[in-house]
């Protein structure tokens, strides 16, 4: 579509946004390069004066500093994400330990069982229980002692920190 007459014949449908995509693109391209047809279109639809003037304003230049700013923000978000993940694992470990503790307390409150049971066991459990939480070792120690039958529990996340 090259001729002005052909473009102007389609102008009504172009402004009504009824043209197929390819025809619409052709009319648009023609209007950009033909001041006569553009004037006709702008007379029919004066808001195109503003649209055309805006389209001719200079765009934004490439800015490497902007790219650097975006990537720095991306790094920051990634770091925050990792910290959040570690915190979640830690909380999961604490929750698991608390669950084991509550289960232990519930068992103690049920009282001694018949036969050789808790009463005959040593006061301090030597063999630690180990709970695996999301790939990290959680070693749980249950220390029972004291006249009132209190139970003390200590746990560490990293077995290398064991005293």
């Amino acid at each position: 579509m090259n001729g002005c007459a052909e473009v102007q014949r389609r102008l009504g449908r172009y402004l009504a946004m009824e043209l197929p995509v390819a025809e619409e693109a052709a009319v648009r391209a023609h209007l950009q390069g033909c001041p006569v047809c553009r004037a006709v279109a702008e007379e029919c639809e004066p808001s195109l004066i503003l649209a055309g003037a805006l389209a001719r304003t200079a765009g934004e230049a490439d800015d490497e500093a902007f790219v650097g700013g975006v990537m720095a923000a991306v790094h920051q978000r990634r770091l925050e994400g990792r910290i959040r993940l570690r915190r979640r694992r830690w909380l999961a470990a604490v929750a698991a330990a608390a669950g084991v503790l509550l289960a232990g307390l519930a068992t103690l409150r049920q009282g001694p069982v018949e036969g050789p049971g808790l009463a005959q066991r040593p006061a301090v459990q030597v063999v630690p229980a180990t709970v695996e939480v999301e790939g990290e070792n959680l070693r749980l120690y249950q220390l029972s002692g004291g006249a009132a039958g209190e139970v003390q529990v200590a746990f560490i996340i990293d077995p290398r920190l064991e005293l």
Partner: protein
């Protein structure tokens, strides 16, 4: 005798990776691929955000936030879409949120003054005319809803097809047409009321 020689065409190994390839690499955690996407689309995103918001500084912040959100949501990117359409959709949503949360006129007025002041001075007359165009559009666009403003800018200024604008705005093509028609009507009316000197002699419809 003519000698026919078969020439084996080597695949162009230096061919630029297209957006979808880069997006796929970025989805796998490749930050340099994502940086390349930012480099490719930054000017367009900043320009569109600037036109929607009428404030270049705010547009820069919005564009940065849009890219960061794109990075965070790369797992949701569907390669059936053009990457730029998906990106413009994110940027437009951020810009529209900013427009809606703006305490409107006073702040916009201040930004327009700053825009004009920035461009006047040692610049050439062309820059002044450009600033005038931006100022007039920003003033008249105050009468448009954020969706009407975005639809008009993408369709009439950026020259995008109605279907693409619909994808960016997350609505139907009929809705885009409706937004554009309404935006045109408002701009026509306000142009005639405030700046009749810019209208063609016929006065339009």
């Amino acid at each position: 005798m003519a000698l026919l020689r078969l020439v084996q065409v080597r695949p162009d190994v230096t061919r630029e990776r297209d957006d979808r390839e880069l997006a796929a690499a970025a989805q796998g955690g490749d930050e340099s691929a994502f940086a390349e996407l930012v480099r490719r689309h930054q000017a367009g995103v900043r320009r569109c955000a600037g036109r929607v918001l009428g404030d270049q500084e705010e547009a820069r912040d919005v564009a940065q936030l849009a890219f960061v959100r794109a990075w965070e949501n790369l797992h949701r990117y569907d390669p059936a879409w053009s990457f730029s359409t998906w990106l413009y959709r994110i940027a437009t949503n951020v810009a529209i949120d900013v427009l809606r949360s703006r305490d409107s006129r006073e702040r916009t007025h201040t930004s327009h003054l700053r825009l004009v002041e920035d461009r006047v001075g040692a610049s050439a007359p062309r820059d002044l005319a450009e600033a005038e165009v931006l100022r007039i559009f920003a003033e008249l666009a105050e009468e448009l809803s954020p969706s009407q403003r975005a639809a008009f800018l993408y369709r009439e200024v950026e020259g995008m097809a109605t279907a693409e604008v619909a994808q960016i705005l997350g609505c139907s093509e009929a809705t885009v047409r409706n937004h554009v028609f309404q935006a045109r009507a408002v701009l026509r009316r306000e142009l005639a009321r405030r700046y009749p000197e810019y209208l063609p002699r016929g006065g339009g419809r």
